[in-house]
């Protein structure tokens, strides 16, 4: 049931992880955006640093803002970023 997902990172999430995007295979047992963040944070120091305070990280599934409890479902692209500071 695994599927390929594009991950995108912005602002200091991107800087901490060290890349703007990557493709991953969603591992079995990872159902929500929050679970994906937890899983990512265990992939290495840079991920642990980026996700050290998961409460401040915002996420979007296929370019729509979502909360961490949102199921990943058939998402093609999930983005992680800090609170927005545009305008």
């Amino acid at each position: 049931m695994s599927h390929t997902l594009k991950l995108r990172y912005f602002a200091w999430v991107r800087e901490r992880i060290g890349k703007p995007e990557e493709d991953i295979e969603v591992p079995a047992g990872i159902a929500t955006v929050g679970e994906l963040m937890t899983w990512l944070s265990k992939r290495g120091e840079e991920y642990a640093y980026a996700f050290e305070n998961p409460k401040v990280i915002r996420a979007a599934i296929d370019r729509a803002h979502v909360k961490p409890h949102m199921p990943i479902g058939a998402a093609k692209e999930i983005a992680f970023f800090p609170p927005m500071t545009g305008g």
Binding site: R8, F10, A11, R63, F81, M84, T85, G86, G87
Partner: protein, 161 residues
């Protein structure tokens, strides 16, 4: 209704954008513009520049959907949102909103609605360059409070139009 949403590195021309929305039409009575400018300091420390990053695709789609929402809430005749990205020096424009309506209340409220959205939910991030390095700007709680005022009811804050 004429709407324009652009995200660009280049400076923009406020007067040209206003003219593009109002020229040749007899129903426009009120034009409100907001321009956000890069200030020369942040929390008392001089800054060398801002760098704006955005989520390409999502930023355009989201702004367009908020412009459409503004048009459904207020009787707008036109709206333009332009947001720059990349490196911006103090004194340079960062972004602008123009709203056009027959009367002033709709133009003011729609412009404030779009600004509150752009400040809190649009996927843009600002980094400031100071003498001792670069820092990402932190989001302001007061911006979230301002944005929240539009969700309670119909978006009309005043008894008067």
């Amino acid at each position: 209704m004429k709407t324009t949403v652009r995200i660009q590195h280049e400076p923009f021309d406020l007067a040209a954008e206003v003219a593009a929305l109002t020229r040749g039409r007899g129903d426009a009575g009120a034009v409100v513009t907001f321009t956000g400018i890069c200030r020369g300091e942040e929390n008392g420390t001089p800054i060398a520049a801002l760098t704006l990053e955005h989520y390409p695709g999502m930023a355009e789609e989201e702004i367009e959907s908020h412009v459409a929402e503004a048009a459904s809430r207020w009787p707008l005749l036109g709206a333009t949102v332009i947001h720059r990205v990349g490196r911006i020096a103090p004194g340079e424009d960062i972004m602008m909103v123009v709203t056009v309506s027959a009367h002033r209340a709709a133009a003011f409220e729609a412009a404030e609605f779009l600004m509150d959205y752009l400040k809190t939910r649009a996927p843009f991030w600002k980094q400031v360059e100071k003498a001792d390095g670069k820092i990402w700007v932190e989001a302001k709680t007061q911006d979230d409070v301002a944005a929240g005022r539009w969700t309670a009811s119909s978006g009309k804050r005043h008894a008067a139009e």
